[in-house]
């Protein structure tokens, strides 16, 4: 077992291993009790596990970007060292989306680091026409797009993802949940498309998948994400360290890969 395990076990956090969580949220959610979802509590909880930065999309922003993205911006302004946000896109509201793309640049880097898409919940396919504006903007500027991806989904399953990967080669596409369940496709795609990244939320609650990802595709494009405040940082860090992958690869996943993406 790698030495990071003993360090995290004894202290909870490790100074030279500052975690970056690339897939987070904020605020309450209809389907799940989330007692620690306010910005203040989130910052306090992050410190327990040495999580330096989380990149989030507020739940409200995913429902109603026009109002919700403002709340995300305020939270980042309150904790500029701890938070970065995704500009949430809901393709069912094209006017708000257009406005958000037009003003994205004003917030880029200090507040926003990319866009967040949630096709399964918005019931709109990734390759649909209404997303085109986001993808074209992100592609021409090399910007990150985190999208929810789930095996078998007609909105964001493997078929839809590949359509985007074939068309946009400069975008940094983060596959949230790594096409959950369709693990072999995730491996195939990350090998074939070098602008694809696999994100580990809901992957690490099953043993054996991460080991296979790393064995097949290396760890350079695998990112630590937890859906925090849905899920607990120590739980996921423990899972990662409990896998059989090397310390170097754990470090790549926990922060080094994301540091590069965020240009920190």
């Amino acid at each position: 077992m790698n030495s990071l395990w003993n360090k995290f076990l004894s202290s909870g956090k490790v100074n030279d291993c500052p975690v970056i969580d690339i897939h987070c949220h904020m605020g309450p959610f209809y389907g799940s009790h989330m007692p620690y979802s306010s910005p203040d509590i989130m910052v306090k909880r992050m410190s327990l596990a040495g999580v330096n930065i989380v990149v989030f999309s507020h739940h409200y922003a995913l429902l109603n970007p026009e109002e919700g993205n403002k709340i995300s911006i305020e939270a980042v302004k309150k904790y500029p060292d701890k938070f970065r946000a995704y500009c949430a896109i809901n393709p069912n509201y094209p006017d708000a989306m257009k406005k958000d793309i037009e003003t994205f640049d004003r917030y880029y880097r200090d507040v926003y680091v990319g866009f967040k898409l949630l096709p399964d919940y918005h019931k709109y396919p990734l390759s649909g026409e209404r997303y085109r504006g986001v993808f074209e903007y992100a592609d021409s500027n090399g910007i990150m797009v985190l999208t929810h991806t789930w095996g078998g989904s007609v909105y964001d399953g493997a078929t839809e993802i590949e359509k985007i990967l074939k068309k946009y080669r400069k975008i940094k596409l983060l596959s949230g949940h790594s096409i959950h369940g369709d693990w072999e496709k995730a491996i195939e795609f990350v090998k074939r498309y070098e602008n694809l990244y696999l994100e580990l939320c809901a992957v690490l609650d099953e043993r054996g998948i991460l080991e296979r990802f790393v064995e097949e595709a290396g760890a350079e494009r695998i990112l630590f994400g937890t859906d925090f405040p849905w899920f607990n940082h120590h739980y996921y860090i423990g899972a990662l360290l409990g896998s059989s992958i090397s310390e170097d690869n754990c470090r790549n996943i926990l922060y080094k890969n994301s540091e590069k993406l965020l240009a920190l």
Partner: protein, 253 residues
Amino acid sequence: MNLEFFDVNVYVGKRIDDRYNISTSIEQLIQKMEALNIKKAVVYHILQRDGHPEPGNETLIKEILYRPELYGILTVLPFQTDEIKKFNFKELKDKKIVGFNFFPKKHNYLLNRATLGNFLSEIEDRCFPVFLDVMSGFSVGWNETYSLLDDFPKLVCILCNLGIWNTDRYTWPLLERFPNVYLESSFLSLNEGSLEETVKRFGAERIVFGSGYPERYMEASILQIVHSEIEEQEKRNIAYRNIERIIKDIKYE
């Protein structure tokens, strides 16, 4: 802090599907436990679920017999079909059997008073814990769990594999109403704040440590509990003492 653990949610044996090589033998399990300071575990054999309870139970009893760190759970079927023998409770002590589990969805029956009323009353009286899996799709859902507890309100019931999404809205009413309901910790640990908030409202006595191994990483649950925002005594109760007490209270005679 040096926490010792007693894991209540583990199975051994070869899975019918094992694409990602997670099946675990008794030897591998014990090695893993030693590495992580897990002093004891309550286990079942996957044959009990995916094969048949009768040979499964026998295999389990044989495999744990000379392993002092392991205790077993037997799987129950409706006795009406005579596929499993009636249990001799007195003998179960020597066999280190400390509870029962049920896979009604997988095994195609209903876990209720009509099917297993006499047996459930008896284990309720004898304080034998039932380890009820609520998420896997093999066992029971929340409706059945609520009905079962309405019918057998004193049943010692350890709810395992609670669910990936936070289940406080399901579990807290049960903790409030039924004094012998306990929660296995692995998914409380996964869900941010769930362990701490459950302890705050119901006390650490109502949670028992479980890892979900070999399907989930033992290290995940351990790291969360060790660094959770609860008192050291509460951690010790969850990690080890609560299940030890539950086992001690079983009336075999």
